[in-house]
Subunit: 340 residues, 2 copies
Amino acid sequence: MIGYVAAKQKNRPTYAEIAKLAGVSEATVSRVLNGDTKVDSDRVAAVNKAVDQLGYQKNRAAAALASGRTGLIAVVIDDDLSVFQDPFWGAITNGISKVLMENEMQTLLLVAPLDNLDSPVAQYLQRGEVDGAIFLQLHKDSLIKRLAKQNLPLVVNGTPHTSNPFAYVDSDNAGGAYAAVEHLAEKGFKTVGFITGDLTNTAAEQRLDGYLAACKKLGLKESKNLVANGDWSREAGIAGAKKLLAKNPDLDAIFCSNDVMALGAIAALQEAGKSVPGDVAVIGFDDSYLAQNSHPGLTSVRQDIAGLGMEAAKMILASLRGEKVHSEILPCELVIRETA
Amino acid sequence: MIGYVAAKQKNRPTYAEIAKLAGVSEATVSRVLNGDTKVDSDRVAAVNKAVDQLGYQKNRAAAALASGRTGLIAVVIDDDLSVFQDPFWGAITNGISKVLMENEMQTLLLVAPLDNLDSPVAQYLQRGEVDGAIFLQLHKDSLIKRLAKQNLPLVVNGTPHTSNPFAYVDSDNAGGAYAAVEHLAEKGFKTVGFITGDLTNTAAEQRLDGYLAACKKLGLKESKNLVANGDWSREAGIAGAKKLLAKNPDLDAIFCSNDVMALGAIAALQEAGKSVPGDVAVIGFDDSYLAQNSHPGLTSVRQDIAGLGMEAAKMILASLRGEKVHSEILPCELVIRETA
DNA sequence: CGTTTTCGTGAAATCGCTTTCACGAAAATC
DNA sequence: GATTTTCGTGAAAGCGATTTCACGAAAACG
């Protein structure tokens, strides 16, 4: 897409006009507009006045060319399949965008397959066309590692498997799971089953850890039979609930790694003649639209998704300022509805 | 956020090097790289070879400054409240991004309140920092009208209330509604109730129109008592179903303007001792996660959301090329599950 | 065959901002 | 009071493309 003609802009003011009107040099205009402290306060005032008067707005392309800073932060989303169907991506991107915009930075959306280290997106990032990048997925992290080595400020969403040279943001999955089980314990449930997510995923791992820790700490029944392996799907929820029921006659609650599985589990329980929460309580994870609109209302663990985005953006900004950034773990909150 | 230092880039090749290596002028390099046809084929080959050899990648900031084209298309989302919680935004943005990227354009995300005509976002758009904009909401269209007057290429998502100077993309809401009612008619249902969305919204209007047209054309019962006014919420679905039941003893199906209300209606029907679809069939609209994960599976009208995004992007590109673009209406598809 | 068009090409001017550098004045040092 | 530092400032040189303009060669014309 090249060769089109840009809509002509009315002749917008430039530094030249501001400089003339304020009676200073263009260099000083630049200093004032970029917050350089070493400018006489009278001159600062004069420049600001001229800027207001002329309704000046900086030309970002020119600034980018001269400074090498684009003012752009890429939000990179690996476009394998259902990406972006999930409201998670929208919510986190929203959080990112909000913080960046407040800081005069812009959000560039990069949705593309990242499998290839030499894909257009990969090249683009390496080329310095953005000042930093936030990765919303990190299946393949070879690209990320490479970019990190090139000193491109980077933040990743989700805990990586191994220690890594980049900072990340994540929800306190273990803590959220713990809180869910704790709620069940407080309500008097003794035999709490758990349906895992896809355990190759660190979030699924952490939720399992939280569940196990809670059972131990709170004196609930502990048993391998109380854990069913799932993969986030409704079918896994159904199968998991059936298995848990079969192996644990005294089962009185099921905690699922996400809402979809929880709804599947509820369906299976009802199919088996169990009432929810009368016979078996159920808790999900994510507090998605599904949980909010299910009937009976699904108790679920809510992540602060927009918060993750905002933190990620703040970390990028700090990184740009040259500060050392450390990873952030955000707390989850249990949203209590009818199923537990 | 100003004053940070950009990660220094290894000295990337420029036109100067390409020109030297290819034995042509920089002007010719530019011509070749921008697809100017009037260049000797030998020279074109020489330039391309040099480009490959040097691994040249264009500096977008420099190009933007010189040409006045930024290569950026803004996706503008009015950030009032729950925006972006809805997977709709993610899906449509994904579609936009895909098409733009294929055309070497980039997607700039602008999430901000648009109430104020002089808000930063509004100014930004007027300033020519993007080559075009796609609006995903158009409550207040005074801004859009103003931008259109300034010849900023523009596409809007959703049918506007009045005729407008800009092109839009939308789903065939009326057609989708018609198809749903037609399906009910084919299955032998005679008395089909309808729960509207918020009728200040054109999509809600069009769905109602489709329902009414289908009832008339297909010989189904027509009555004011068969239409309940809703507002997209679960509560509206519940209230609507109760009202329809009360006023129509022979009611055998309910078509709802969205899935959330459909699920509410189902809950109300079951509460009233009616089985779904045994006693009353139900169809929703959107084919959302809710429909896909509900139990029993909710029959629903699916919009091609990513398609809307792709069309919008194509229209912007056409507009950039100077072509006259016309609005696009995309067909909907009925996804049949268990409730009808 | 002389004259006018058309074509492809390169030199050079921009685009608007940032940043280095040098310089004089003021402040700090001894 | 002489000398060294520090400060604020403006001139000017980029940043890396695009685009106008003029020019010679080739093609078309009469």
